[in-house]
Symmetry: C2
Subunit: 467 residues, 2 copies
């Protein structure tokens, strides 16, 4: 000790920078290393220690990540959910996020389900629908349990047309409902007659028109289209302006050759044209296909789903089967439309975080400087966020390059170990729903996946190993 303090000191300080200050003040050279201990309590830290540098986990992640990269989702059809989705039971409604009982659902989701009951003809009034639902005569499942995803409330009922996405590499099929547009829409809990009538038009005209078009077109690979949209300022979660235009460019020639009714085609084109989010549901189901390819690899710490039902935020992990690791969904403090504030916001909602799970959305935010007008921040913040996410991902996806970082590939494949180790929560770009049914979107912002989901998952993954 005497000899230590007798000599001239040169100090490396790790962690709390306050310890470095008095040393510097005393005139000694000091290097202050920014470091924080892993997130969570001692139990989580011990679980993490068992997973870090563990050969089985590394090998499982390599397998899962390679499967994610190899996925090649293609749009192959449009059909009513009851026909398209294998095993979907009668009087079953799919919703976004982790499982939840009718009584516990948030108001926008309940409003959307009431609307779906009326749309399906199971009830002819709000009161009748609520009686049916209170009596337990409708069953519910997460969309994710059927290979599906839906934005916001994420409601898919049997008669609704769905996009069918097939990945021939892994033999998986995924689904999403069709985007209704902006304003009063079912996904925000609106269920007025105009909303129901639009759903009937989508069933009667939009679905069959798209079905005939896609049949004429043949399989449409979605990763190249997403890659092109990333070069045109989209991050394909909250900004789908380019992707929606590119989709229309692909569909129109086939639609013109499909022998469709001209009035129907005109109405469908105007409907798609009026909604710059139209591609979102395809983006989501393509991402779902990529993550389903990576799911179910024993020992893998790769996150394969992040989703919210407006009450709970949950994640799934490749090596942990069908379990959800959930915590209360956060309220997003974003940019609110005039007249609204965080007090009006429903907690975080929707399956659209499957885009961030797949390395898109906020992970690819560098590609989308214009998104900051919608979710807040600056163009340099968007680039910084992409760089930050690279600290918690297994690798990068060369299929998705980002011009703003000189065509660097997007960081992808969230590793629950890295989230805990770095204390960096996955960033999410999201729309914000009003907490009352039917008012709709009231803002958008940047939030993150809560750390506690990842703590639970790390502990659970450690338990799958004997030592």
């Amino acid at each position: 000790m005497t000899s230590l303090f007798g000599a001239d000191l040169a100090v490396i300080n790790v962690g709390l920078s306050q310890f470095a200050e008095p040393i510097a003040a005393a005139g000694a050279p000091v290097l202050d290393v920014v470091w924080t201990p892993p997130a969570g309590d001692e139990t989580v830290a011990r679980a993490l220690a068992r997973l870090v540098n563990r050969a089985e986990v590394e090998a499982a992640n390599a397998t899962a990540f390679a499967r994610y990269l190899a996925a090649q989702p293609a749009l192959t059809g449009v059909a009513p959910a009851a026909d398209a989705i294998a095993g979907l039971l009668e009087r079953t409604i799919l919703h976004s996020g982790p499982p939840i009982a009718w009584a516990n659902m948030c108001a926008p989701v309940q409003g959307a389900i009431i609307g779906a009951c009326i749309y399906e003809g199971w009830a002819n009034s709000h009161e009748a629908a609520r009686q049916l639902l209170d009596a337990g005569e409708v069953s519910f499942s997460p969309c994710h349990d059927y290979g599906a995803v839906g934005p916001m409330a994420g409601i898919i009922s049997p008669s609704m047309p769905v996009w069918i996405i097939e990945d021939p590499i892994h033999g998986t099929t995924t689904y999403s409902n069709l985007n209704e547009g902006l304003g009063k829409v079912l996904r925000y809990g609106a269920n007025s007659p105009e909303v129901i009538e639009r759903l009937h038009w989508m069933q009667r005209t939009l679905g069959p028109t798209l079905a005939a078009t896609v049949e004429t077109l043949g399989p449409l690979e979605l990763k190249p289209l997403i890659a092109q949209a990333l070069h045109m300022g989209d991050e394909v979660h909250n900004r789908n302006v380019a992707a929606s235009a590119l989709l229309l460019k692909r569909l129109i020639p086939a639609a013109l050759d499909a022998g469709l009714d001209p009035a129907d085609l005109s109405a469908v084109v105007k409907f798609i044209n009026s909604n710059d989010h139209f591609f979102l549901n395809l983006s989501m189901s393509a991402c779902k296909a990529m993550m389903d390819a990576a799911h179910g690899v024993a020992g893998s710490s790769l996150v394969t789903a992040m989703a919210r039902n407006g009450v709970k935020f949950g994640i799934r992990v490749s090596g942990l089967g069908e379990r959800w690791f959930t915590v209360p969904a956060p309220v997003v403090d974003g940019l609110f439309f005039p007249g609204y504030s965080a007090d009006d916001a429903n907690p975080d909602l929707g399956d659209s975080t499957i885009t961030e799970t797949a390395g898109l959305g906020a992970f690819a935010m560098a590609a989308s400087p214009a998104i900051v007008q919608f979710v807040g921040g600056s163009a340099s913040d968007a680039i910084a966020n992409t760089h930050k996410m690279a600290h918690i991902t297994i690798g990068r996806n060369d299929a998705f390059t980002l011009p703003q970082v000189d065509f660097g590939a997007t960081p992808a494949g969230i590793d629950i170990r890295k989230v805990i180790d770095t204390g960096i929560e996955p960033t999410i770009n999201t729309g914000i729903a009003h907490r009352e049914a039917g008012i709709g979107q009231i803002g958008a912002g940047i939030t993150s996946a809560p750390m506690a989901c990842f703590s639970q998952a790390v502990s659970a993954l450690a338990e799958t190993f004997d030592d």
Copy 2:
């Protein structure tokens, strides 16, 4: 002198940094200010001195720039050049760039003109066309003399359908030919039967289909569409991917309502779809309208046109009437397609530099990181170029914001005085034509408008003042 060198020196060095080095080596503090004298010789410097801070020039520029900003060009029609362009004489062909005689034209322009003679039925073979042209039986004018612009050879002959753009604010009308697509095309001097047949199809089907569509649609304002494309990675000179898709989105609903022949509509949509440069000619004619609005203000040093005919590069200036200030067109040292080099390149060609003149193209390059894959450089170079161009412009155009610089407005309105004063030549993104007719595009790159055009113009503008 003794007292100066007797005291401790603190030196500010302006210009040649070599003078600062020995002072620094001797231990004295020295601030090295980067500065170069104005470009050109003493005569130009004296002319510049008469124009800088001159009230008449400042006032004229304020007027011209306000007129540029106020222009609101809208697509209002499509018609054959002979019907649309006022005063276009029989057997007249318009070409890009400054005026040039048949004998002096470069090979790609001569090839395109031979093709136009065959297309118009004025000759039935290359030999017959050449005889006609050598005999002086066809007259030529720059597109610019008729309010028109054309990319590359820029050939407009009487039967070709043209876009009609009207600016109701200033009562101006501008024109451009329709983009033929990629590969063997007239604008690169190709004149084979397939090229001529495509031109006939454009006259027979594309033109009338677009004419009926635009009539159904009504006036389509082009600045909002360009602004949106800038938020989607275009700079609307060499990258028009988003703008072409957005244009199709606007045209399709009207086309479906216009009662068109379904086979024609299908063919037209496929033709537009296959060419991501389709919007270029609209971008150019919109820019031409903005610059025509600013032209003709006595005393103004604002550049209102930059254009090349493959032999000469020329500029026009608002306060200097119809005069062109020309120098030999430079050869662009860019990125060449496999098998080609600068040795194969024709000197710079085309009216498309009207985009840079209007604050788009290379001036808005920050918005288009993906363009560097085509013209070279990195995303940060693209941003740096936009900042650099702000040193030579009169102001910024708030109609065109660039997400990558946190929605700063594009620098616009080149001031010949600032070009000479700073020694910064206006940057240009450009395609490169093969120097032989008909081979087509062999590369793309970044070049600049030659300083000597601006020297001439500064001298000429100074001569318009008595003192």
